[in-house]
């Protein structure tokens, strides 16, 4: 019996919940995988997984769906991290998309994202026969995510049906499924953007340097600052890359990820900037602007 109650902080409780979820998956699935996107949410998810199974090694591999249009610094970071931690890292690129030369500049953001990301992910899950995939999505990111279960069921065709999701009570998760069906599990469901940053700060979790402000070559296109990360980016007439102090709030394919002008070069400065800012995180993502309820539609089709 304890004498006086120990007040667990909100971060301790979120951590304990995420660890519980991950252990439940490992105990109940045949072939789980963790989707690793190299971003800050993935960094936190990986850190929590290491804690959940300590002192054992991670009982599942990491999977990165590489569209071949990620920032170069992301790939460098990914490979160094996998080596340092001895992780079993799988990298998959959609070979059909690659053969057809699919890219955001030539085919537009919708086709590129669908072929290289959504289809690429389905291919990899099918190829390795993964029955459960951890994803780093959070409920605070976007309205349709707020109703997403922690254990989210997908048909054999990887489709999400918002009306067929199982009720989740207490911390009792039903992970039973038929052969061919799979589950996406979101251990960070109840974390907010601020929680993620605070936890990174508190736990000293390494991040891709792109999150921190630095002088980078950018062009302003349709109101968004795009970094010219390599020479595949065709410049429009009158566009000249300019060196600006910028950073990124989310990371993805460089042509689809807007930078923000910033001088925040340390974690506390980033958090400070985030707390004082007035626009939401996903605003930097070009794909969300298409139409109302666009995210819900993408999810039904198999986007994470």
């Amino acid at each position: 019996m304890s004498d006086t109650p120990i007040a667990l902080t909100h971060l301790q409780r979120l951590e304990a919940e995420s660890i519980h979820i991950m252990r439940e998956v490992v105990a109940e699935s045949d072939n789980p995988v963790m989707l690793y996107s190299i971003g800050k949410d993935s960094a936190v998810m990986l850190h929590l997984a290491i804690k959940a199974f300590f002192p054992a090694k991670l009982p599942f591999p990491l999977l990165h769906v590489d569209t071949r249009w990620k920032f170069r610094e992301m790939i460098t970071f990914r490979d160094a991290l996998a080596k340092r931690l001895g992780l079993d890292l799988l990298v998959h690129t959609n070979p059909d998309g690659l053969a057809q030369g699919i890219g955001p500049f030539t085919h537009g953001s919708a086709v590129h994202t669908d072929v290289m990301k959504t289809q690429g992910l389905k291919q990899a899950l099918d190829q390795y026969g993964f029955d459960v995939a951890f994803g780093g999505a959070r409920r605070d990111e976007e309205k349709s995510r707020a109703k997403e279960r922690i254990f989210s069921f997908r048909s054999e065709q990887h489709r999400w049906d918002p009306k067929q999701q199982r009720p989740e009570l207490w911390r009792t998760y039903n992970a039973r499924k038929h052969k061919g069906e799979s589950i996406r599990v979101f251990p960070l469901s109840n974390w907010t953007e601020l929680d993620i940053w605070q936890y990174i700060h508190l736990e000293n979790i390494p991040l891709v340097p792109l999150y921190f402000a630095d002088k980078r070559p950018v062009v302003e296109r349709d109101g968004t600052l795009i970094m010219v990360d390599d020479d595949r980016m065709p410049l429009r007439p009158g566009e000249t890359p300019q060196m600006k102090s910028v950073r990124f709030r989310t990371l993805g394919c460089y042509p689809l990820t807007g930078a923000v002008e910033s001088t925040a070069a340390t974690l506390p400065e980033i958090i400070q900037e985030m707390l004082l800012t007035t626009t939401s995180e996903r605003q930097g993502r070009v794909i969300d602007h298409d139409q109302a309820a666009s995210m819900e539609k993408k999810k039904q089709e198999g986007y994470f």
Partner: protein, 641 residues
């Protein structure tokens, strides 16, 4: 995301330090769109500055396009997520919202108030410490207010905020407020809610939400956010209970380390504490509390930890590590069941039951009664349908450790899973163990199934014939039995029509009765196998679940499913007993294939296509299959001893 704090600009490090020590409160809001529930949540997010400018711009645009506030900002639109429900103008599921203040982070379960969504409200309430019950000041206590309060109390929430909303529309009249509060307290006490804090608010205008309204000088209680920031947390109360650690996963990286991982449901634990593993009852001491951040001297309810023990005792996923007053161990309980599926609860059908990390097989009895959630009346019931609540006994295939739900939600609450679809179809709350389970022990018998079968020189088995009425089941079963008899085998037949004249004469043809019909037949055929017989069962047995249940009663090799596959058109054309004609004319209800489903087997051991095989050929095929499986042998001369 402008959290208003000067510290953010002046000293971010100090701000971060302060915010690392925030606690977490989860609560649920109960009420309908009409009560202003979505508006209240939108207001909480807005007042705590959780809305960004781009979201605000989108909100303003949406408010003009589809808002219900005549172009004014419609906060409800902030929280109504999915496209389908936006069009319908209602929320249809549980959504979780987040906001925080200087003191606490909050997770809000937002659930709709309509009657058909009991499922969602119970789901949202299951993780909440507190419930906000919204009442429209103009309407007072409604049927749904009672329903919400009953469900909140049932699921174990002890703290309630009665938010009397739309006070602006009644001129902030104290008498209106006082009357509603008095009525509510009287009702709340009946359902066991005595910790009620009432607050007069206007979600639309923000009165008494974040700051004290000057419109209600007569109100001296806390405003809403202030109350939410200070209310005690359930997790801290649970720390005072006895230790319960449901073991989720055994961590065995190498031969030297064996750790038991799980999230502590109640109590606390220190190295050196004496613990018991249940249901086995084995005792040991805690050696270490292992975490990535180093070993702990103390761990409490809510933490996810890994324990190592001083002794090598059996302990695996689904067990409970406990100290103090130990949990009980039993296999039969009285429970409250809340049904959550379109398909009704069928008494007698086997479901999976998951409690903590333990998965067992369970059958539920006919409800003792169901509860009318609006009037709290007890009603007679044969089954439970979607969103119905009833008190039922359940029986498990093995003993589990548990606590009554009122003492511990994690070790007393369970989910029921359909064995075929794998859907979560219901939940249950354990009241108490039925003492019967501790008094009835299996007689250990000297003469057993094997010795009885040996005497007859055979291996016992069930041949389960399934198929439509008129498919030829009984004809083929009869031919098979004749051949077996000719070979000197000991057999018996259970036939649908015959059993319904005797053992099951009290049963009709509803789905519930069909399940019970097959349950009894399965149990009888199991007894026949115990007697060493080859038992031929000839029943339409339309549901996969029941055939699976029968299969699970005996050892794997003893059960052979024989699918007599006759297309409906063919069976109907034969119509030996004239039943199809009656069913088509409506004289016979619930007839399989006509107005009641037949679920064909996926993987029957023997599949007979009667459009290609005569009954005699079918019988030969089945006999051959029994030979192949070693169930019958030719030239066998008697027991070997």
């Amino acid at each position: 995301m402008a959290h208003i704090s000067d510290l953010i600009e002046s000293d971010i490090d100090a701000y971060l330090l302060q915010h690392q020590h925030k606690s977490l409160l989860r609560f649920i809001t109960c009420g309908s769109v009409d009560d202003g529930k979505s508006t209240l949540i939108g207001r909480l997010l807005y007042d705590s500055k959780m809305i960004f400018e781009d979201q605000m711009a989108a909100l303003e645009a949406d408010s003009k396009r589809i808002g219900t506030q005549g172009g004014e900002i419609d906060f409800a639109l902030l929280v109504d997520g999915l496209a389908a429900e936006r069009e319908q103008g209602i929320t249809i599921d549980v959504a979780y919202r987040f906001f925080s203040t200087e003191k606490r982070k909050f997770i809000v379960a937002d659930t709709p108030g309509h009657e058909q969504y009991t499922r969602n409200m119970v789901t949202g309430a299951s993780t909440a410490d507190l419930a906000i019950i919204l009442v429209d000041a103009r309407k007072g206590i409604l049927t749904q207010t009672r329903r919400h309060s009953y469900l909140v109390s049932l699921i174990g929430i002890k703290k309630v905020v009665l938010a009397v909303n739309k006070m602006d529309l009644v001129g902030f009249d104290q008498t209106v407020f006082d009357t509603i509060v008095r009525d509510y307290r009287a009702f709340a006490a009946q359902v066991g809610l005595d910790d009620v804090t009432a607050i007069p608010i206007s979600g639309l205008r923000g009165d008494n939400i974040a700051s004290r309204s000057d419109q209600t000088p007569w109100f001296d209680g806390p405003v809403l956010i202030e109350h939410l920031e200070n209310v005690p947390l359930d997790e801290e109360i649970r720390q005072q209970g006895p230790l319960r650690l449901p073991v989720q996963w055994v961590n065995r990286p190498d031969l030297d380390f064996r750790g038991f991982a799980g999230q502590i449901a109640s109590g606390s634990v220190r190295p050196g504490d004496t613990i018991r593993v249940l249901p086995s009852g084995k005792q040991s001491k805690v050696a270490r509390i292992v975490t990535y951040d180093g070993d702990l001297d103390l761990a409490v309810a809510g933490q996810s930890v890994t324990l190592t023990l001083e002794d090598e005792i059996d302990c695996s996923r689904g067990d409970i590590i406990a100290s103090g007053n130990p949990p009980e161990v039993a296999d039969q309980f009285e429970t409250t069941i809340i049904w959550m599926a379109e398909e009704p609860l069928l008494p007698g059908r086997a479901y999976w039951l998951k409690i903590g990390a333990k998965l067992v097989s369970a059958t539920v009895t006919e409800p003792k009664y169901k509860v009318n959630v609006n009037t709290l009346e007890h009603l007679a019931a044969k089954a439970l349908t979607l969103n119905e609540i009833g008190v039922c006994n359940i029986s498990l295939d093995q003993q589990i450790a548990f606590d009554p739900y009122k003492d511990n939600v994690d070790t007393g609450g369970f989910i029921l899973i359909d064995r075929m679809t794998n859907a979560t179809v219901g939940i249950g709350l354990i009241h108490f163990a039925l003492r019967r389970s501790q008094n009835i022990h299996w007689q250990a018998l000297d003469v057993n199934k094997t010795s009885r079968a040996d005497l007859k020189g055979q291996k016992p088995a069930i041949l389960w014939f399934t198929g439509l009425s008129g498919s030829g089941k009984s004809t083929i079963a009869n031919l098979v039995e004749k051949q077996l008899y000719g070979m000197g085998r000991h057999t018996t037949t259970l036939d649908g029509d015959n059993v319904r004249h005797g053992l099951n004469r009290d049963l009709g043809f509803t789905d519930a009765d069909r399940v019970e019909n097959i349950r009894r037949v399965a149990e009888v055929s199991k007894l026949m196998v115990e007697a060493g017989l080859i038992c031929l069962v000839s029943f339409i047995s339309p549901f996969r679940s029941e055939r699976q249940m029968a299969r699970d009663l005996v050892e794997g090799a003893e059960f052979l499913e024989v699918f007599i596959d006759t297309p409906l058109a063919v069976a109907e054309a034969r119509d030996v007993k004239g039943l199809y004609k009656k069913a088509r004319s409506g004289d016979l209800k619930n007839f399989t294939g006509i107005d009641s489903p037949y679920e064909a087997p996926d993987a029957a051991e023997i599949h007979i296509d009667t459009t290609k095989t005569t009954p005699e050929q079918a019988a030969d095929l089945i006999i051959q299959k029994l030979r192949d499986r070693g169930l019958i042998r030719d030239g066998w001369q008697g027991p070997e001893i």
